[in-house]
């Protein structure tokens, strides 16, 4: 598939902080690209540079054939952005915000009226359309932010944490709407730190950490690439000692162990059928009582942990 965005060597420094560090990445036409990374990874900064809102320190990108530095006006015509923090004045109302956005993006009066109603209704915001933004809940504000782009149907939609603050039912509905947007021909960049969301929606996932791209591929390839294709999670009655972790690492089938919580060990291993009984025997012999044992397939969580060397919890902490 041809690429619609080519990012090359893109870098942004804020003083001493390197928010985005020589990023190279291509986004294919018509795909949903998940941009995954812990807090502070540089997702939002990358997006703001693509959208020509902030200027790169180094490097550039072309969007639909236009260079973001040389032809920012052309680039902006292709984009629609759902910002992480809803960007709206608090005295405004949902209807005014969405309707004005659609007008600026060039929708005809008739189409605008129809689509604004349609989208606000499907986001459960129609009855709140005349309320002031300051009277809306956080999730409602995010819905208004989403509505702008869903009405616009841009060539390239950038959605930054689209379902943060949105309830479970709303989440699934938004995901469906984003999928439909792609099916109707838009390309989507989805920045998120929710692995499940990235897995659900993305055709490909790019994992960022500390401003750098670690890996980019389809969720399936990424999951398959994890050595130790089987995962066993063992919950112990008491916290696991370093000694016991060492002991388990001695099994040659065990590739890696993550201590997810003090009493939960996550083992990446091969030949699960043979090795699990041996492990259980060892634990019994060492007098380490087991509460539960759980086998699973690799998820993006594991891909993430594999590439960043962090559990999600650690990554979130280090980013703060």
């Amino acid at each position: 598939m041809p690429s619609i965005i080519q990012i090359s060597n893109l870098t942004k420094k804020f003083g001493n902080i390197v928010a985005v560090d020589h990023l190279d990445l291509e986004v294919e036409d018509g795909e949903i690209l998940g941009l995954l990374g812990p807090n502070g990874a540089g997702k939002t900064t990358t997006i703001l540079m693509l959208a020509t809102v902030i200027r790169p320190t180094e490097g550039t990108a072309t969007v639909g054939g236009f260079d973001i530095r040389k032809n920012p006006e052309k680039v902006r015509e292709l984009f629609g952005i759902v910002f992480q923090e809803p960007k709206m004045l608090w005295v405004s109302t949902p209807w005014d915000i969405v309707n004005w956005h659609a007008k600026v993006c060039g929708l005809s009066t008739e189409e605008r009226k129809r689509r604004v109603k349609e989208v606000l209704e499907s986001l459960d915001m129609w009855e709140h359309r005349r309320k002031n933004v300051h009277a809306l809940s956080g999730g409602m504000r995010k819905r208004v932010e989403l509505a702008k782009v869903l009405v616009q149907r841009p060539k390239i939609a950038i959605v930054d944490e689209p379902t943060a603050q949105i309830d479970v039912v709303g989440k699934h509905r938004v995901w469906n709407m984003l999928r439909r947007l792609r099916d109707e021909g838009s390309t989507l960049i989805l920045a998120t730190n929710e692995l499940y969301e990235a897995d659900e929606l993305s055709d490909r996932v790019a994992i960022m950490h500390r401003g750098k791209l670690l890996v980019c591929d389809t969720p399936k390839t990424l999951k398959d690439s994890i050595v130790g294709g089987d995962i066993v999670e063992i919950q112990l009655e008491n916290d696991a000692s370093a000694k016991i972790v060492e002991e388990l690492k001695n099994f040659k089938e065990v590739v890696n162990i993550l201590q997810v919580k003090p009493c939960i060990l996550r083992l990446y291993l091969n030949k699960v059928e043979e090795v699990v009984p041996k492990i259980m025997n060892t634990l019994v012999k060492k007098n380490v009582p087991v509460t539960s044992i759980h086998m699973s397939e690799p998820s993006l969580d594991d891909v993430f942990a594999h590439y960043t060397g962090l559990t999600i919890e650690e990554a979130q902490k280090s980013g703060e």
């Binding site: 020509t52 902030i54 952005i81 923090e85 960007k87 405004s92 993006c105």
Partner: protein, 260 residues
């Protein structure tokens, strides 16, 4: 061009969200006018004011300009707020050029000033006398030009001050310098006389003379009041220069500073 109209629409809608507050402000301005006129009429030496008949007739045009100033300045406050809440990221992501965005913002500030000022100007006409069509045209053009300059000034301050406190401090400073050293509250001849007697610093006398607020107030006075010397059109130059400088600096500041 279309984009500029969209920005103006956006800003005017936000302006009218405060319509009751604006009505309140205008009423207060008018109340000020009548109260101050009575009080000052006794306080200000009649020799200074004689030319104008009463202090009320002198002050009404000054107050009109004051109202124009304050309301055209409001756009700066909004842009400052947008910047603090990072709403400007959204504005900068819209499909239009930076120039269109900047011009739209300056223009909105100017139009808002004119809307707010119109009841005050009408009050002047009712109590001081109506201008000819030509004079009315000149008044509106000059005041609009000034409103654009003020709007530009407020935007330039808004984007170069990070916090609201700094913005408000800067606004206060500008307000007081420009109003104190102008013919809004007392005639220019009085300031010049005090300057000659050494009671008023010379640089401030010059500021009062070139101050566009003086030019605008005196222009309205000379058009509406019968016994004043004919209006000198060259003083419009003060307004033109002021506006040109600040419209440009607003556009420049808006484009350069916001994009970092």
């Amino acid at each position: 061009m279309k984009a500029i109209m969209h920005i103006v629409e956006h800003d005017l809608r936000n302006f009218f969200r405060y319509k009751w507050w604006l009505v309140g402000l205008i009423s207060m301005n008018l109340a000020d006018l009548f109260i101050m006129a009575i009080v000052y009429n006794y306080m200000v030496s009649s020799a200074v004011i004689a030319q104008y008949d009463t202090y009320f007739k002198f002050f009404a045009p000054g107050l009109t300009v004051t109202g124009l100033f304050a309301s055209a300045f409001m756009i700066g406050r909004e842009i400052n707020m947008e910047r603090r809440r990072e709403v400007h990221h959204y504005m900068l992501s819209l499909p239009m050029t930076r120039m269109e965005l900047a011009i739209g913002r300056v223009l909105s500030g100017g139009i808002r000033g004119m809307i707010y000022m119109s009841p005050l100007l009408l009050t002047c006409f009712v109590f001081l006398g109506f201008p000819t069509v030509w004079e009315l045209l000149v008044i509106l053009i000059v005041l609009f030009l000034m409103a654009l300059g003020i709007s530009g000034l407020s935007i330039a301050i808004a984007v170069s001050t990070a916090s609201l406190e700094k913005f408000i401090t800067a606004r206060g400073l500008v307000y007081y310098t420009l109003f104190f050293c102008s013919s809004v509250f007392y005639p220019l001849s009085l300031i010049q006389q005090l300057g000659a007697e050494g009671k008023f610093p010379a640089p401030l006398v010059i500021l009062a003379e070139v101050n566009p607020l003086s030019s605008a107030s005196d222009m309205i006075r000379s058009f509406l009041l019968p016994d004043l010397p004919a209006f000198s059109y060259t003083s419009i130059l003060n307004v033109v220069v002021f506006s040109a400088i600040f419209i440009l600096s607003a556009a420049f500041a808006y484009i350069k500073i916001l994009e970092r």
